[in-house]
Amino acid sequence: MNVLLLVFCFVASVQWAPSEAVPFVIPWYGRWIVPTVGEVWPKPQQQTSSETFFVLRPTMFQFQVVGERCDIIDEAVRRYYQIIFYPGEAGRSPLSYPPPPTPIQEHPQFRAFLDAVEIDLKQPCEYLPSADMLESYNIKIDTPDNPLKATITSDSVWGILRGMETLSQLVYSSAATGVAYQMNATEITDFPRFSYRGFMMDTARHYMPLKTIKKMTDLLAQNKMNVLHWHLTDDASFPYESTLFPNISRYGSFQPFSHIYTANDVREVIEYARLRGIRVIPEFDSPDHTQSWGLGQPRLLTECYDDNGILKVPDEYGAIMPTREENYVFLQQFFGEIFNTFPDPYVHMGGDEVSYYCWQRHPEIKAFMAANGWGEDYTKLEQYYFDRLTAATQEITQNQMRYIVWQELLDLNITLPTGTVVEVWKGDYEGLSFNEELARVTKYGYQTILASPWYLNYISYGLDWEKYYLAEPLDFDGSEAQKNLVIGGEATMWSEYVDSVSVIPRTWPRACTVAERLWSDRSVNDTALAALRLEEHRCRLLRRGFMVDPSNGVNFCEQEWDM
């Protein structure tokens, strides 16, 4: 009611307090929300908890690897010991509460000291995370069949990683008992709802230093996301240093020494992500969004003519020139390199927002169109480009390469190789509904991932995480089989207006809500309940040394960011 009036008051108010706009009641004074203690984010599929607790002692504690082991486990054990006992980059000490009045052993809910957690991996490790990786795990802490013991069990190393993250979140500092590391008896059976839970990072509009990418990867792992979609290049710049074609980044990056990713940088990111169970999927968007490719790869882009057939000033180009044979040779070699550099079989080919303006005016293309009898149907030409591109890349990768593309390719009725994943990004703000698009894409039988409701780069004043949290990927009209084709989703952070200064606080904890939507059960959708856990999770991430913004308005964490 009276939206206008409301908005007006809102703008004119020193204090922001329309309580109906937040999923909780704003109190008269003090913090708006009291966080939970020792709750897990994203919420596990099944958890039974108890009031009895264990106390962890940093000097006594150890992870005991009782099953299979490999480098991923060894690294994780070290990492999680630090996360639990010495969070934060600065090695901040744990909270110091006044010591308990009586020895903790006399506390009625005290169960025992927990000096070991067993890591029980049932199957040999896989080396690389993949689209098919298994991520389910069990945690038993002092259950009837596992009394006085704590065990993480999984059939896959990826499940063990997810379980260790959960375990680290179960440990809390208790203001009630004064114990720094305390954990309740509990049993958890957990697995993801969707297999593809991604985050897209754009390093073309602003360059993101390696350190930022690694922090982002840590945060993905701590929210059980498993895909880093690396939007590496775009019109603005080309920071990927290609081994075969070094000229592209030499001329197409913002700065060819400081603002590029070398082969070694890329390896480092991939390895960092692998150890955390995260796939790295690079995107080399073509045929459009390629302005930055042109400087270092002459004749790749379409020279642009005006309506009178006059060549526009020499620096105006359109999308990749689809009728030049040499371009497919280049693309074949280039994507061959990409396939060797990035171990995941999936590569994101882009394909969005192709402008036909320069194509329509280029004499060579016009002749080509006429020769093929395509009239003015330039989608045919785009289809031709993608047919050639997929043929070339399939050939050089011995049919190993798999594709993700933006939805336009499907919208333009371009036929895609089977096994291609279509990423749905339009809708909502364009007045279209992503539900219709999901129904359409899955009807064609393609697997799909959803990004439309999760464009986190669009910022707004006030609380906005609820809309990300409540976006439901399976609300569209479609058969069971269609719904099974929705393999997940992605939060995206396009970087026109954000760089490494703020990309982390702008992304987190807003992306946490996407993570829970994609991991937890569909029924976990009560924002009032989520707010309390999200509040704890935000303070947890802050304590671990990550610059994450406040999530629920007026509040505080025990340890604030103090640089």
């Binding site: 004119a12 020193v14 204090q15 008269w28 004074y29 003090g30 913090r31 708006w32 509009r205 602003h206 360059y207 230093p209 775009d234 019109d235 603005a236 710049s237 080309f238 197409g252 913002f254 400081s258 603002h259 969004h289 302005q291 930055s292 042109g294 400087l295 620096d315 105006e316 969005d352 927002e353 402008s355 036909y356 303006y357 990004w425 339009k426 364009e430 464009y455 669009y458 707004s460 004043y461 995206t492 396009w494 026109e496 490494s500 200064v501 703020s502 606080p505 702008r506 610059m547 994450v548 913004d549 406040p550 007026v554 509040n555 505080f556 025990e558 604030e560 960011w561 103090d562 640089m563």
Partner: protein
């Protein structure tokens, strides 16, 4: 895609290309500059330009080179701790910015390679090894509303060839001059790490009150964050830190006389409070940078957090049936003991904060609780005010001013939010009215306030806490405080403005990056001449300034869309 689409949009907006069908949604994004075609950053930064823009500048293409090992500042006039500290600070800012030392090293290496090639450059005028600092009057200890901030800089001018001098009547002017000087020094693409062009600058602020409000009540801001913002203020020539230290959610100010206020009213009485020494630390840090600290203790509303530590201060609210409902309203204006408390409290504030001005708040007083309270009802009746609670507010403010004048021997000066005057409270004529309502439609209020003869400070168009997608600094930049209808003498009553960063949705993590460099736009509006108002010309300078602040170690956001700095965060 999103703003992949935006990059397409530039192309769309670009009529020369005229591609595809325009997209209404995205066409809402507006840019204060033309978007480039092809690849690369949207804005090319200037080199060695000053932000905010000086009043008068005569730059040339001649240049001098600074050598870190030979360079020094020479004090020829008066001196004091403020100047000594500033010399140390600016030497480091120029030669060893915290994160930028990498650049210097890189350029130094290059310069060895090109060994002195600049000496053959026809514009090379020599090495600038000495910059004279001449403070003509003895230093003042404290910055004040009346401080003199004029300064002049001469680098290799005709009357002083190959010399550098910064002069000013007051030490505050020299501080501003040092900041300008530090911004004139740049790393050139020719491999010279520290280069400065010959120039002459005469500069002074357009308005004397140029502030930033930070809110440490909605979220606690640790000292390092406050200090970072003070540095950034000095580097944008802002001179008032308006410290909105308390509000409904929390009372983090640790009072010596009334420690229970923060003991019971802060988020945490040990880790989330400002101790007396913290406050002193902030004041000194600000003083060294020529920045006044004006605390705000907002009353009678916005005081929920005062309640737990000060029983009886707030008005108990009553339900319709006449029973107490356990909520409290604004300060109870009836009991005499509340004024006794306020008198002592503000006496302490006046001692702790050296500036003559204290912000008394007075905004958004909710009358409904007052109206429900039987004690207040009978008081109103007794006064014959019926339901006119504005008179009760007036009564409160009047008493508050009386007791604080009394206890400070008439020395305390006030800032109040505009409601106080909107509700016709009579204020001492030297009170400053803070106009904050109505966003960009603040003109009527400025006209009204100044017609009453009060001085005024403007914040309405500069609520930086309201964030927007896209480039938004130009709207702050273009807000003109003197565009209202009024006489010359009315306009003279506008003493400046403040950018506000309310803390509901922001804490130490992002307060700096969200505030800056958006507040830089406000800083230029308040310092530079009214005619400095072309965002197209400002954008390249702002771009340079953003990278400069980043290089100096501050986490300030990108401001003009797609871009890069030599040294990233």
């Amino acid at each position: 895609m999103t703003m992949k689409s935006i990059s397409l949009l530039f192309l769309l907006l670009n009529i020369s290309l005229g591609w595809a069908e325009p997209d209404i949604q995205k066409a809402n994004l507006r840019f204060p500059f033309d978007l480039p075609k092809g690849n690369g950053a949207w804005i090319r930064p200037t080199v060695g330009q000053i932000w905010p823009k000086p009043q008068l500048e005569q730059p040339t293409d001649n240049f001098m080179v600074l050598r870190p090992n030979d360079f020094h500042f020479q004090i020829t006039g008066h001196t004091c701790d403020i100047l000594e500290e500033a010399i140390h600070r600016y030497y480091n800012l120029i030669f060893f910015p915290p994160r930028g030392s990498g650049t210097s090293k890189r350029f130094q290496k290059l310069s060895n390679k090109y060994s002195m090639t600049w000496e053959k450059n026809e514009n090379f005028r020599g090495y600038l090894d000495t910059v004279i600092l001449n403070v003509m009057q003895p230093c003042e200890k404290l910055p004040s509303l009346n401080m003199d901030e004029h300064y002049e800089i001469k680098i290799d001018t005709t009357d002083r060839p190959r010399e550098g001098i910064i002069l000013g009547q007051s030490v505050w002017g020299i501080l501003r001059g040092l900041e300008s000087f530090s911004q004139l020094v740049y790393s050139s693409q020719n491999g010279i790490a520290f280069q400065i062009n010959s120039t002459m600058i005469m500069d002074f602020p357009r308005f004397p009150h140029r502030g930033l409000l930070l809110d440490s009540s909605r979220h606690f801001l640790p000292l390092p964050v406050i200090k970072d913002n003070l540095d950034l203020m000095a580097q944008n020539k802002l001179n008032v830190f308006h410290w909105h230290i308390t509000d409904d959610p929390a009372f983090p100010y640790e009072s010596r006389k009334f420690p229970s206020l923060s003991q019971l009213g802060s988020f945490n009485p040990y880790s989330h409070v400002y101790s007396p020494s913290d406050v002193e630390d902030v004041i000194q840090y600000a003083r060294m940078r020529g920045i006044r600290v004006i605390p705000e203790f907002d009353t009678p509303g916005h005081t929920q957090s005062w309640g737990p530590g000060s029983p009886g201060l707030l008005t108990p609210c009553y339900k319709k049936d006449g029973t107490k409902d356990n909520f409290f309203g604004p300060i109870n204006p009836v009991p005499a003991k509340n004024y006794k408390f306020l008198r002592e409290f503000f006496a302490e504030i006046f001692q702790v904060f050296p500036d003559a001005y204290v912000h008394l708040g007075g905004d958004e007083v909710d009358f409904s609780c007052w109206a429900s309270n039987p004690e207040i009802k009978s008081f109103m009746k007794q006064q014959g005010w019926e339901q006119d609670f504005a008179r009760l507010e007036q009564f409160y403010m009047q008493r508050l001013i009386n007791v604080t004048q009394d206890v400070t021997k008439g020395e305390m000066r006030y800032l109040v939010w505009q409601e106080v005057i909107d509700n016709n409270v009579v204020l001492p004529t030297n009170t400053v009215i803070h106009v904050w309502k109505d966003g960009n439609n603040f003109h009527d209020e400025l006209a009204r306030v100044t017609k009453f003869g009060y001085r005024t400070v403007l914040s309405s168009p500069w609520y930086l806490n309201y964030i927007n997608y896209g480039v938004d600094w130009d709207r702050y930049y273009l807000a003109e405080p003197l565009s209202f209808n009024g006489t010359e003498s009315q306009k003279r009553l506008v003493i400046g403005g403040e950018a506000c960063m309310w803390g509901e949705f922001i804490d130490a993590v992002s307060v700096t990056s969200i505030t800056w460099p958006r507040a830089s736009a406000v800083a230029e509006r308040l310092w530079s001449s009214a005619s400095t108002n072309d965002p197209r010309l400002a954008a390249p300078r702002l771009e340079e300034h953003r990278c400069r602040l980043l290089r100096r170690g501050f986490n300030v956001n990108p401001i003009n869309g797609v871009s890069y700095c030599d040294i990233e965060w």
